[in-house]
C-alpha cells in the first residue's frame, strides 16, 4: 500500500524557483512582469494575450454556445467571476473576426441574509456591483436568497432540451438552435436595443423582499446544525435561484466563474461529501443536469493566481463580500477544510491543483439514465443529479445502513441468522413510499416520518450526499415550500408507481 506514493516523488517535489529572467519567454522582447508557471516569465502584453486567448480557446474548443444565444453570467463579485465578466466584455467588444456572438446578461445572488450581513452592508455591496454591471452595459438581475421562499416547484423539474447527439456537428446544432429560436420568438438574434430595453427594465427591480421570507431564511439556517450542511444547502438554493432566473428570462446557458483552483477544491470536497457519482457534473465544463439550461464553466483553465494577477494588472474591479465560511477556523466545515488542505499542499507541491483538476477531466457521471431525464424520481430532489443510492448489496451505502440498524434497539433478536438476502437493499421508494412496511426497513428512521403527512420523508428522494445534508437538519419543514411541495408530488408519484409496478415492463434494463 505504501509504495505508491514514493514512485512519484520526483514529480511532486518542490522545485526551487529559477531566478527572474528579465525578458518575456514568449516575445523575447518585453520586460517580464510575472511568472505564471515555474520558469514561464511573461511580459504584460503577452500575459494579456495569453489570458484572453485561453478564455476564447475554452469556448471555442467546447462549442456549446450558439450565436445569438442568451447567456447568463453568474457573478458573485469575487475575482474569478469578475474576471469572467471582463473576458466576456472583451470578447464581445472586439471587432476581430472571432468576436463572441452570444447575448449576455448578469445574475448576482445576494446571500447576505444567510451570512449575517446587515441590511446596510448588503445594500452597499449591491450598489458597488450594480455600478460595475452598469458600466458593462449588460442587463442584470439582482436576486436575493430570500426569494427561494417564493420559487415555484417547477424549478426542480429537469426539462429535457432538444436531444443533442454528441456526434452531431456544431454547425448542425447551431442551425437547429436558430430554427428553434425563430419558431419561438420570431427573431434570429436579439438586437442591441432588446438587450438595452431589458437592461432598463431589470435594473429598476425592487430590491426588497418580504420580512416573512427573511425570517424563514433565518429559521432554515438555524435548523442546520453543521456549517458543512449549511454551505451545501446554500449552494443548492443558489443554484435553484440562478436556474429560475435563467428560465424566467429565457437564458439557455449559465456561465459560472469557477477557476481551476476552485474546481480542485470542489472536486476533493465533493468526494469527501459522498458526491462521487456527480463529480463530473459538478466540475466538468458543461453541466447538463437541468436539461434546458446548461451550466458552463469557462474559467476552469485559470488558476486563482493567474486571475488575481490579471485583475490587478488590468484593473478588473471585484467586490469582497463575506461568505458563510469567511473567518471561520480550518475545521469549521468539510469545504473549508478541503480548501485549506489543497491550498497548503499546493504551496509545497505546485502541481497539486492541476493534478486534481486533470482527474476531473477523466471522469464522467456513473449513473446517467439516458431515458430517464424526465423521470423526476430518478433525480435528486435537491441537487438534481442522478440518484446514486441504487447501489449493489455490498456497498458503502448499505454498509452504513447495516451499521445504523445494528446499533439501534430492539433488533438484536431478529437479525443474527439473517442471510444477505434478508438485508434491505434499499431503493428509494420501495422502502419509504409504502409508508412503513416495517419488514424491510427495521425501525430505522427510514420510515419513521413517512406516516406523518405533514413533513414528507425526503430521504428516498435524495442522493447520498444530499441525505447527509438533510440529516444535519433539525427541522426539515423549514425548507422552502417549493421543495416540500415537489417532494410530496414525487412521493405520490412513487407510490403510484409502486402500485402498478407489476404491470410495468422494465424499459431501462433493455437499454443497457
Amino acid at each position: 500500500m505504501c509504495q505508491v506514493d514514493e514512485e512519484y516523488n520526483g514529480h511532486l517535489e518542490k522545485i526551487s524557483l529559477p531566478t527572474l529572467s528579465k525578458k518575456c519567454v514568449k516575445c523575447k522582447d518585453g520586460t517580464a512582469v510575472l511568472i505564471i508557471r515555474v520558469g514561464d516569465a511573461f511580459c504584460r502584453d503577452c500575459f494579456k494575450e495569453y489570458f484572453i486567448h485561453k478564455f476564447r480557446a475554452m469556448l471555442g474548443k467546447n462549442r456549446v454556445i450558439f450565436p445569438g444565444e442568451k447567456v447568463l453570467l453568474a457573478v458573485s463579485g469575487g475575482p474569478a467571476s469578475s474576471s469572467m465578466l471582463s473576458q466576456v466584455q472583451e470578447g464581445l467588444s472586439r471587432d476581430a473576426p472571432k468576436k463572441l456572438r452570444f447575448v449576455p446578461g448578469i445574475v448576482f445572488v445576494d446571500e447576505g441574509g444567510a451570512c449575517g450581513l446587515s441590511v446596510e452592508e448588503r445594500q452597499r455591496a449591491i450598489a458597488q456591483l450594480e455600478s460595475i454591471f452598469r458600466e458593462k452595459g449588460f442587463p442584470y438581475h439582482v436576486v436575493h436568497l430570500e426569494q427561494v421562499f417564493s420559487l415555484p416547484g417547477s424549478v426542480l423539474e429537469a426539462v429535457s432540451s432538444a436531444p443533442e447527439q454528441p456526434g452531431s456537428s456544431y454547425k448542425a446544432a447551431v442551425d437547429q438552435f436558430i430554427q428553434n429560436s425563430r419558431g419561438e420568438h420570431g427573431l434570429m438574434e436579439p438586437s442591441v436595443e432588446d438587450a438595452e430595453s431589458g437592461f432598463a427594465q431589470l435594473s429598476t427591480q425592487d430590491p426588497t423582499y418580504p420580512t416573512e421570507h427573511r425570517l424563514a431564511l433565518e429559521r432554515l439556517l438555524a435548523s442546520v446544525r453543521t456549517l458543512t450542511a449549511k454551505e451545501d444547502l446554500l449552494q443548492t438554493l443558489r443554484q435553484h435561484l440562478i436556474l429560475h432566473t435563467a428560465r424566467v428570462h429565457g437564458y439557455t446557458k449559465v456561465m459560472m466563474g469557477d477557476s481551476c483552483s476552485r474546481l480542485a477544491v470542489k472536486l476533493l470536497s465533493s468526494i469527501s461529501l459522498g458526491r462521487g457519482a456527480s463529480l463530473a457534473t459538478d466540475t466538468g465544463f458543461s453541466d447538463t443536469r437541468y436539461g434546458d439550461v446548461v451550466i458552463v464553466r469557462p474559467m476552469r483553465d485559470y488558476s486563482s493566481k493567474e486571475i488575481a494577477f490579471y485583475n490587478r494588472m488590468f484593473n478588473v474591479p471585484s467586490v469582497f463580500i463575506p461568505g458563510l465560511d469567511t473567518k471561520t477556523p480550518e475545521k469549521a466545515s468539510i469545504q473549508r477544510l478541503t480548501e485549506s488542505f489543497v491550498t497548503k499542499l499546493q504551496a509545497d507541491f505546485p502541481s497539486t491543483v492541476s493534478t486534481i483538476y486533470r482527474t476531473s477531466e477523466k471522469l464522467h457521471s456513473a449513473r446517467t439514465p439516458q431515458s430517464a431525464i424526465t423521470d423526476l424520481t430518478s433525480k435528486c430532489l435537491l441537487c438534481m443529479c442522478a440518484i446514486d443510492t441504487n447501489t449493489e448489496e455490498a456497498s458503502a451505502f448499505n454498509a452504513i445502513l447495516v451499521s445504523e440498524r445494528l446499533s439501534q434497539s430492539g433488533l438484536r433478536e431478529t437479525a443474527p441468522h439473517t442471510q444477505a438476502q434478508a438485508l434491505p437493499t434499499e431503493s428509494p421508494g420501495q422502502c419509504c413510499s409504502s409508508g412503513g412496511q416495517g419488514q424491510g426497513c427495521g425501525s430505522g428512521d427510514c420510515c419513521s416520518s413517512a406516516q406523518s403527512s405533514v413533513t414528507p420523508d425526503l430521504k428516498g428522494l435524495l442522493c447520498y450526499s444530499c441525505r447527509l445534508t438533510i440529516k444535519d437538519m433539525t427541522a426539515v419543514e423549514t425548507l422552502p415550500q417549493y421543495i416540500m411541495t415537489e417532494a410530496e408530488k414525487r412521493q405520490r408519484r412513487l407510490r403510484m408507481k409502486m402500485e402498478i409496478s407489476e404491470f410495468l415492463l422494465d424499459d431501462e434494463e433493455s437499454g443497457e
Binding site: M1, G276, I334, R358, T359, T391
Partner: protein, 343 residues
C-alpha cells in the same frame, strides 16, 4: 450520568461508536462489529464453502482483529473455511522480528497454521540490505511491491484459494484521496473494489473483509477484547505524501464522522470516461506474475538492486525493459541517472 446502551437498552454503554455515534455496551458493540463484517462477507460473496483462506498477518491491529473475527465468524456461521495465517518477513530488524513474535503468539491463541515467507529466501535481499543500498527515500516502493508478490507466493505454496488482508475503511478512503491527489485514474477505479477476483488468472484473489470497518472501531474492538497486537511504526517509513492524505482524512472524520464511508461511497460510484487510457493486465515475461508491462515491477526492482542501480524501478523507465530482458548492459548515461541517490 450513565448512558444506556442504545441497542439492548439494558446495560450501561461503555463506548460511543465512531461510525454511527451510537452509545453501546461492550457486548452489543462486539456483536455489531462482528455482524457487520459478516454482512460484508455474505453480501459481497467473498468466500465459498470449503475454501482455504490465507489471512495476511503482520501482527498489527488490523490483521490481528481480522484473524480473530474470521475465526469467530467461521465457527458462528459455519462458513466451512479453512483459515491459516500468512506472514511476510521483510527482514527489518527491530520491527518485523518483533511483530512476527506477535503473529506466532496469535497462531497459538487462535490455533491457526502459520506460514512465514521471507524476502531473503524469495529475493535474496532483506529490507535492511535494501535500505543500505537505496537509502531511506523510496524504500517503501521496494517493500510494498515485494510484499504483494511475497504474499502471493506464500499463498501458492500453501495452495490457498483466497487471501484476505486487514485493510480497513480508513485505508480504503485514504487510498481514494491519495489517487485523486496523484491523478492516478487507473488505481482510483480499482482501489475501492472489495475483492480482486475479477483480475483473472495468475493471481490469487484478494479481499478486504474489513473494508467498511473504521480503524477506530478496530482499535476499540482489540482493546475491549484484550487482543494481543503489535503497534509500532515501521522504522523505515517516512511516507511523506501519503501522510498528507491520512491527516486530511482524519481531519475530515473529525468534522463529519461519516466522511470515511462517504469517501468510499464516492469512490464506488464514480466512473471513468470512455477513451481514457487504462493499463492492460498481462504477465511478466520473466517470472510470470501479473504485470501491465513487459516486466513486473518486482523483477525491475530486483534487477536494479542486483545491478547496483536502485533507481531502475523508481519512476518510469519502461523503455529500458527490453534491455533488461535481453540482459544487455545499459549505456553510461542511463546508468548515471539510475545510480545516484540524490539528497
Amino acid at each position: 450520568m450513565p448512558v444506556q446502551c442504545s441497542s439492548c437498552t439494558k446495560k450501561r454503554a461503555v463506548l460511543k461508536r465512531p461510525k454511527t455515534g451510537h452509545s453501546l455496551c461492550k457486548d452489543c458493540f462486539f456483536w455489531a462489529f462482528e455482524e457487520e463484517v459478516h454482512q460484508t462477507i455474505v453480501s459481497a460473496r467473498l468466500f465459498n464453502r470449503g475454501e482455504t483462506v490465507g489471512i495476511g498477518a503482520s501482527g498489527g491491529k488490523d490483521s490481528t482483529v481480522l484473524a480473530h473475527v474470521l475465526k469467530v465468524l467461521n465457527e458462528r456461521y459455519d462458513y466451512g473455511l479453512k483459515l491459516l495465517l500468512l506472514s511476510v518477513d521483510e527482514g527489518i530488524t527491530g520491527y518485523r522480528d518483533d511483530s512476527l513474535e506477535t503473529v506466532k503468539r496469535n497462531q497459538q491463541q487462535y490455533e491457526l497454521p502459520l506460514k512465514i515467507v521471507s524476502y531473503e529466501e524469495l529475493y535474496g535481499w532483506t529490507m535492511d540490505a535494501i535500505v543500505k543500498q537505496v537509502g531511506l527515500k523510496n524504500n517503501c516502493t521496494f517493500c510494498g511491491v515485494f510484499r504483494r508478490q511475497a504474499l502471493d507466493r506464500g499463498a501458492m505454496m500453501l495452495k490457498v484459494d483466497k487471501i484476505c488482508t486487514g485493510h480497513n475503511a480508513d485505508d480504503v478512503a485514504e487510498t481514494v484521496l491519495m489517487n485523486v491527489l496523484r491523478g492516478d485514474i487507473a488505481r482510483l477505479r480499482r482501489c475501492t473494489a472489495i475483492s480482486t477476483a475479477s483480475e483473472g488468472e495468475g493471481a490469487i484473489p484478494r479481499c478486504k473483509p474489513l473494508k467498511y470497518t473504521y480503524e477506530k472501531e478496530i482499535v476499540l474492538y482489540a482493546y475491549f477484547k484484550k487482543l494481543d497486537y503489535f503497534s509500532t511504526e515501521c522504522i523505515y517509513s517516512p511516507n511523506a505524501y501519503r501522510g498528507h492524505a491520512r491527516t486530511f482524512l482524519k481531519d475530515l472524520e473529525s468534522v463529519r464522522p461519516s466522511a470515511i464511508v462517504d469517501v468510499i461511497h464516492s469512490g464506488e460510484t464514480l466512473s471513468v470516461k470512455e477513451g481514457v487510457k487504462m493499463p492492460v493486465q498481462g504477465t511478466c515475461s520473466r517470472c510470470g506474475y501479473i504485470s501491465s508491462q513487459a516486466l513486473c515491477k518486482s523483477c525491475v526492482l530486483l534487477e536494479g538492486l542486483n545491478r547496483g542501480l536502485p533507481r531502475l524501478g523508481i519512476g518510469k523507465h519502461h523503455r529500458l525493459h527490453g534491455k533488461i530482458l535481453a540482459q544487455q548492459p545499459l549505456t553510461q548515461q542511463e546508468e548515471r541517472k539510475l545510480k545516484a541517490i540524490d539528497f
